[in-house]
Amino acid sequence: MTARSLLMFPLLAAFSHAAPVKSGHATAEWITGATVVEGGKPIQTGIRMVIEDGWHSYWTNPGESGMKLKVVWDLPEGWTAGEVEYPAPKKFLTGELPGYGYEGEVIFPVTLTPPVGASGSAQLAAKVSWLTCNDASCIPGKAELKLSPAAGSAESADAVEKARARVPKPLEGLKLEVSETADAIGLSLETPEGFDAAGWEVFPATEMALDHHKAIEFRKEGQKWAAKSGKNAYADGPLKELVLVLAKKGKTPLEVAWKAK
């Protein structure tokens, strides 16, 4: 939009979709499919990041280096934001250090809830900061993103929904047990009938719990599935809890959690 057209159509500018912000090696924007604001009715939004080829950014467990996404909300009175949700990551090496995160495009779903009496012309802001790395260097990025909550598009609604489908969810009948010896962590999965745990890629969501170098691979052992993992060098005493994410192409990613008794 040229400066002149902004001047001619100030109202249009106020309601238009805010332009993506480029910083470092990624571009970020805040999108929604919502076209109406109703007090108390949640709105589905997403923080969309497009990362330049050859660079990656990080998951909630970034692995041996990296930095997780940081979001600071600047919302009008009464508006609340839910937790930022993370689609299942991929694993990569940054030099010699294993890490988990994203390449290309990723959308982090966030549910917003307006207060009663909220206006569709409310302006929401979020300060987002991230880190992108490649083998040679790391470059941080940050952006102040703006959202007009009723200025959504069907395209964005679709994109956010697809991203939400990539956020790991629990599965009925999928249970995790964890045991520990001096040098290793034993993982045992109870699964629903017909579930083949060997076909899934396994990511530890809990930081500093498991060794990140070797992939975790489940093998059938009787009625259950078993895997062994090294301990993370920085594990602070015996594991008290562990969350695993399981991902497989074409399937909804899964999450399974264990807590020590």
Partner: protein, 199 residues
């Protein structure tokens, strides 16, 4: 038993030659050239408290601590307390995109106002690997008896944000204060944050 376990796991545990569990043991000996071409060894500083600070001036986490003046202040404060502060670059000398040669590194450090005792060029990575230096910055403290007393983060907020320096718990500085006072170090071994060392 543990040595055997590590020896049989190729590659992946190359960086684990000094593991979290080895804080409390004798710090590995070394002799490395500084930016002036002079050989610096741990033995030269026997009887003194020594700090090792892994650096890469291109790393945003290092920039956070130099840009805010935090690292230089720590260097000045503690060299003033007779601590030997050695800044180390373990970037592979054969990696053109990572290696910074001695005089250039010295110049950058000087421009940054570094108050380090010396800057070591660990181009073959031996020093870094013997201490398990993983990222920049990675902070290590060797006590007067030559034991590794601390290995870990510089502070508690794992971000690239300069404004977090004032808010963070000063993990490394607290550890150094305790070492100098002959007190036990809390949290002597913890996970650092930074950019991977370019071995």
């Amino acid at each position: 038993m543990k040595l055997l376990a590590y020896a049989t796991l190729a590659g992946a545990f190359a960086l684990a030659s000094v593991t979290a569990k080895e804080v409390g043991k004798a710090a590995p000996a070394f002799s490395v050239q500084d930016t002036a071409g002079k050989a610096v060894s741990l033995a030269d500083h026997k009887g003194k408290t020594v700090v090792l600070e892994w650096v890469n001036f291109g790393c945003p986490f290092v920039k956070k601590h130099y840009g805010s003046g935090n690292m230089q202040k720590l260097q000045e404060t503690y060299t003033g307390k007779d601590v030997v502060w050695l800044t180390v670059s373990s970037a592979n000398k054969d990696k053109a995109d990572a290696f910074v040669e001695g005089s250039k590194l010295a110049e950058t450090a000087k421009d940054q106002g570094s108050k380090a005792t010396a800057i070591l060029i660990d181009g073959d990575g031996k020093l870094g690997k013997s201490y398990g230096a993983e990222v920049t910055p990675h902070m290590m403290i060797i006590d007067k008896e030559g034991k590794l007393a601390y290995r870990g983060e510089i502070d508690s907020l794992h971000t690239t944000d300069q404004s977090d320096v004032a808010k963070a718990d000063k993990t490394f500085a607290n550890a150094l204060d305790n070492v100098l006072a002959g007190k036990p170090v809390e949290n002597a071994s913890n996970k650092p944050y930074g950019c991977g060392v370019k071995y």
